[in-house]
């Protein structure tokens, strides 16, 4: 998918420029490459610092507090899962807790484990269960407490208050999550 999009962006771009708007490609290549390298160099510093803070969350067990907080809502969102496969619920909660803290490296293994556990109690092995669909949907809304990359880039580009987007981002994620959960209930009957 992304391959096609990338190809067509350049293909259409070059064709358009031939037809309407001849541009100097060597300049574009040079400028594009240079600005990306500058961006990456300043990202190196800020990302390193945020990752350091997140590592402390992981190692200190702070993530377990999030586990405790998240466990109850997850029990409600995944009814009866606790009795069918408790490990699945554990991995789901750990995945979401890691995602909330922006620990995507930690989140992915938990997510895959959660899917494996859900697959164990899945009656039809090549079709997604209701639990799986719900887990993916909650995961897609991805409530992130500190969007470190966005803050870093905003700081790098000279925003007046780089972290001012934190609260709006959390609210937006929550809205996305609610919409997704409602839609899931509606669509469920059409996709059996």
């Amino acid at each position: 998918m992304i391959n096609l999009i990338w190809f067509f962006m350049i293909f259409i771009g070059i064709i358009t420029s031939f037809l309407y708007n001849p541009i100097d490609f060597s300049t574009i290549i040079a400028q594009s490459a240079e600005s990306t390298v500058k961006l990456c160099i300043s990202l190196l510093g800020i990302m390193a610092i945020w990752s350091g803070i997140m590592k402390l969350c992981e190692k200190s067990g702070l993530i377990k507090i999030f586990y405790a907080v998240l466990k109850l809502p997850m029990k409600i969102l995944f009814p009866k899962l606790e009795y069918k496969n408790e490990r699945a619920l554990y991995y789901i909660v750990m995945n979401l807790a890691s995602n909330m803290l922006g620990l995507s490296n930690a989140a992915t293994p938990f997510g895959i484990k959660a899917m494996e556990e859900l697959q164990r109690i899945n009656t039809n092995k090549d079709t997604a269960s209701d639990y799986m669909v719900k887990f993916i949907i909650i995961n897609s809304a991805c409530i992130q407490l500190i969007p470190a990359t966005v803050i870093s880039i905003r700081a790098n580009l000279g925003a007046t208050s780089p972290s001012s987007i934190v609260i709006p981002t959390i609210i937006t994620s929550a809205i996305t999550l609610i919409i997704a959960l409602v839609l899931e209930k509606v669509f469920r009957r059409w996709f059996i």
Binding site: I10, G52, L56, S60, G61, G111, A141, I153, S163, I165
Partner: protein, 170 residues
């Protein structure tokens, strides 16, 4: 306003908690910083590749043509022209979305309406296609039912809500 205190308080809380738990804060921090550097090295080639395509697409005038084509829809939904590429790319590619967001911030200004909307969309939804292919792929499930369609519709609706909210209240 709240955000201004949120970050320092969060950092303070993490540090105090870690010290309280007997964590070697300095060493663990360094360990995390190493991972952060690796992350940037990992995404750098993707950024370079995607920003190049975006530059070609935008500076040739193709992007403007595309935006004009979709103008009736975006006008109806109150989506600013500049933000449209962000809404379209976010579900497909995380690194692509970072590139588009950076591009929007550079073009319109980091604190502009467009810049703010792009930042919020970036942080508030996941790379849906990646998540779905990774998680369902890992267990060999082929029929994903309504997972993709629901995630995508929710992403579009909430993006439209963000645009309208920022446009009306800022």
């Amino acid at each position: 306003m709240i955000s201004k205190y949120f970050i320092p308080l969060f950092i303070l809380f993490v540090l105090i908690y870690s010290v309280f738990k007997g964590i070697k804060v300095y060493e663990v921090f360094v360990e995390g910083a190493k991972e952060g550097l690796k992350t940037v090295f990992n995404i750098a080639p993707y950024l370079l590749t995607m920003l190049f395509a975006i530059d070609v697409f935008r500076r040739s005038g193709a992007l403007n043509g595309f935006i004009n084509l979709l103008a009736p829809v975006t006008k109806f939904l109150n989506i600013p022209d500049g933000v449209l590429p962000m809404i379209l790319i976010k579900p497909l590619s995380g690194s692509g979305a970072i590139s588009v967001m950076t591009d929007i911030m550079k073009t319109y200004g980091v604190d502009s309406t467009e810049g703010l909307i792009a930042a919020i969309i970036m942080g508030s939804s996941e790379t849906i296609f990646y998540t779905i292919s990774l998680y369902f792929g890992s267990i060999g499930v082929k029929k994903i039912r309504h997972a993709l369609i629901v995630a995508l519709i929710a992403h579009f609706i909430s993006s439209v809500i963000v645009c309208n909210f920022i446009l009306n209240f800022l």
